[in-house]
């Protein structure tokens, strides 16, 4: 008999979990009974936009994701691309927009923490980070506070963790007044034949909980990330998560050490909707069932319910399937780093997702259906309003004055004040720091010459004027920035930030931008190997500019031949190339 914590499943409760009537009906059909409160929480976590990609999946499938160098495309924690000599670069970009608006420092910090975890979960040591930031008008009352908090948070986490930040973007536009964008990119280096994946293998194997303890942080957070903001935003505030870069740095070292011992069969980071998504993904991808014993989960707060534990977004945690013979070795490594290590479950062969708490079963669900049967929508699209034409250009314009206006504009000014707050030099391999076209980082463990270039780009104005062309342009600009430093562009990740997909014009923008990105990536042989979608960036009906950020990675055979953008000497010839 399933235990239901004596909470009645009412239509209001269902709605407050972001599930609509059809979705709930589907749940009833799938499980043949009313869900328990914990189960409802699990479904809401798995089926919200953030985890299920229910509005975007149809369009994401159109992107080119394969190529000669692609080892793992979308579907894993991060994309993996071959960079010769048996080495691979592992990278991804992810948004933390809503949390950063609510609490800029912690929101941005935990965003950086999350993306770094995605990278090192795969066995890669992070070697570079970037951040693409968008804020409202410089004179808007909230902007100053948001900018200083976000920049300090990005730096606070990345600097302490110890990864160089080598690039990014900062832009201001009134359309972001109520919804700022914080997109964080991270890349790591791994041996191409030692990549760790999330699919569980083997029946009856222990599932281990690693890292920090579970608190009530962000309970309901993933649902929040998929809901439009209203004026009741204050009420959602206590769900803020606090980042702990120190614990994450220990987690990195412990994981990499552990992976060397051969103890790790599968591993998955606990991101949004923590324990639920990670456990379900590990089981479902491996065609196995999972049984979790919540009484063994390390907790930070007293009297946590099963519901809270399953939905907690506490940071700096991971889940792994362990080779039982290596349990002692694994435990010793985690204890050396002062991290929690607890066996909290096992794999089963019945394809069920069972959660046991205080001696009772609080959830028993078909594990594959949680992901596979998640709703998928082909949301209606409608032509977006045609862009207004630019006015006549005054040919008598004072060029010098115009230039001053441009460089004095918040969007044209130097970003030095931002990147000087980031450690751009740590690890000793940064051969090109922010300020140029792309950041360049030397690759260790090869011939000492090889390097990787990183750039993140998008011009939202163009995307609004013409989403398809704007999508193409973002890819082209990123590709150009990589080639401009002398790198061969290899592959990219995307972070698609849009408004409310339930509005047909937004859906049209979204789908067209993806098609544009796909066109350009195909033409340039620049596959998309990972990415993230952030929808519902809208407050009181005002949506952000469509902002599909593209993060690209390129390869340089010899960093000494790298290009930089400064003029080198007097009397040099200036050439303009291109159309």
């Amino acid at each position: 008999m399933l235990k239901n914590q004596n909470i009645e499943i009412t239509p209001e409760l269902i709605a407050s979990h972001g599930l609509n009537e059809e979705e709930y009906a589907k749940i009833l059909e799938l499980i043949g009974r009313e869900p328990t409160y914990t189960e409802l929480g699990i479904f809401s976590a798995m089926w919200n936009e953030h985890c299920s990609y229910k509005s975007s999946k149809k369009w994401l499938k159109t992107l080119p994701t394969t190529g000669d160098r692609v080892i793992h495309g979308p579907g894993e924690n991060a994309g993996v691309v071959d960079i010769d000599d048996g080495q691979a670069v592992v990278f991804k970009m992810e948004s933390h927009n809503h949390p950063s608006y609510i609490e800029p420092y912690q929101g941005a910090a935990t965003g950086v923490g999350g993306i770094l975890r995605d990278v090192f979960t795969m066995g890669a040591r992070p070697i570079a980070a970037m951040n693409a930031l968008r804020f409202g008008a410089p004179d808007h009352e909230k902007t100053r506070h948001l900018v200083s908090g976000v920049v300090a948070g990005v730096g606070g986490y990345g600097n302490s963790f110890g990864v160089p930040t080598v690039g990014g973007e900062v832009e201001f536009d009134p359309r972001y007044n109520g919804n700022i964008l914080v997109n964080a990119f991270a890349a790591g280096l791994a041996d191409a034949d030692k990549i760790f994946l999330c699919a569980a293998k083997g029946v009856g194997l222990p599932i281990v909980y690693l890292g920090a303890k579970t608190g009530r942080d962000g309970v309901g957070g993933a649902t929040m990330a998929s809901a439009e903001f209203g004026d009741d935003i204050d009420e959602k505030r206590p769900t803020v998560q606090v980042g702990d870069p120190f614990t994450e740095k220990c987690l990195l070292e412990a994981c990499l050490e552990l992976m060397q011992t051969g103890a790790v069969i599968a591993i998955q980071d606990m991101g949004a909707a923590g324990l639920t998504c990670s456990a379900v993904e590990m089981g479902a991808q491996g065609n196995l069932g999972v049984e979790l014993y919540l009484d063994d989960v390390p907790t930070r707060e007293e009297a946590m319910t099963a519901y809270e534990m399953m939905l907690s977004e506490s940071q700096e945690r991971m889940l792994m399937v362990l080779d039982p013979e290596k349990e002692d070795v694994a435990k010793a490594i985690f204890h050396k780093w002062d991290l929690d290590f607890a066996i909290v479950g096992k794999t089963t062969d019945d394809l069920r997702f069972r959660v046991i708490h205080e001696g009772a079963e609080v959830a028993n669900l078909p594990i594959k259906d949680l992901g596979d049967e998640a709703p998928e929508y082909d949301r209606p699209r409608a032509a977006y309003p045609a862009p207004s034409t630019l006015g006549e250009i005054d040919s008598n314009i004072d060029i010098a004055q115009a230039l001053l206006t441009l460089v004095g504009n918040a969007n044209g000014a130097s970003r030095r004040w931002v990147w000087e707050q980031y450690d751009t030099l740590i690890q000793g391999n940064s051969v090109q720091v922010p300020g140029g076209d792309a950041g360049v980082v030397r690759v260790e463990g090869a011939d000492g010459k090889k390097a990787l270039a990183f750039s993140v780009d998008v011009t939202p104005r163009y995307c609004e004027a013409n989403p398809r062309e704007g999508g193409k342009q973002a890819v082209a600009e990123c590709w150009r920035n990589l080639s401009a430093v002398g790198a061969l562009p290899l592959a990219a990740t995307d972070n698609l930030n849009f408004g409310n997909p339930e509005k047909p014009e937004i859906m049209e923008q979204f789908s067209q931008a993806i098609l544009g990105i796909g066109d350009a990536c195909r033409a340039l042989e620049f596959p998309i190997v990972s990415g993230n979608v952030s929808l519902y960036n809208e407050t009181n009906g005002i949506g952000i500019l469509p902002t599909p950020a593209i993060g690209g990675v390129g390869l340089l055979k010899d960093w000494a031949k790298m290009m930089t953008l400064s003029f080198k000497e007097e009397g040099e010839v200036i050439l303009l190339i291109g159309e």
Binding site: I102, E103, Y105, Q106, G215, R216, D217, R237, P238, V240, Q241, V242, D244, F246, T247, R300, E301, S314, Q315, D338
Partner: protein, 80 residues
């Protein structure tokens, strides 16, 4: 007038600093420490004689700058 403002983390908000301190105290051999939470104080010298007016002003400073009310609580004490 001197006032002291106390800013502490709300219940349930993770306090990595407090945790690290707890760990360090125990490795230094201090036993029986069940929990440590770290907070801030601001000692403010104000050009104001009316306690009520001062308190009101200080509360506004907390709301606007000194406390991050998303994750922190504050309280105010007039010292003299």
């Amino acid at each position: 007038m001197h006032a002291r403002i106390f800013v502490t983390l709300k219940n349930g908000v993770l306090d990595p600093q407090g945790q690290a301190i707890e760990g360090s105290l125990s490795s230094l051999g201090f036993e029986g420490v069940d929990a440590v939470r770290q907070g801030k104080i601001f000692d403010v010298k104000l050009d104001e004689t009316d306690h009520e007016v001062a308190k009101e002003k200080l509360a506004q400073m907390c709301e606007k700058l000194l406390a991050n009310t998303v994750i922190e609580n504050y309280s105010i004490e007039i010292v003299d």
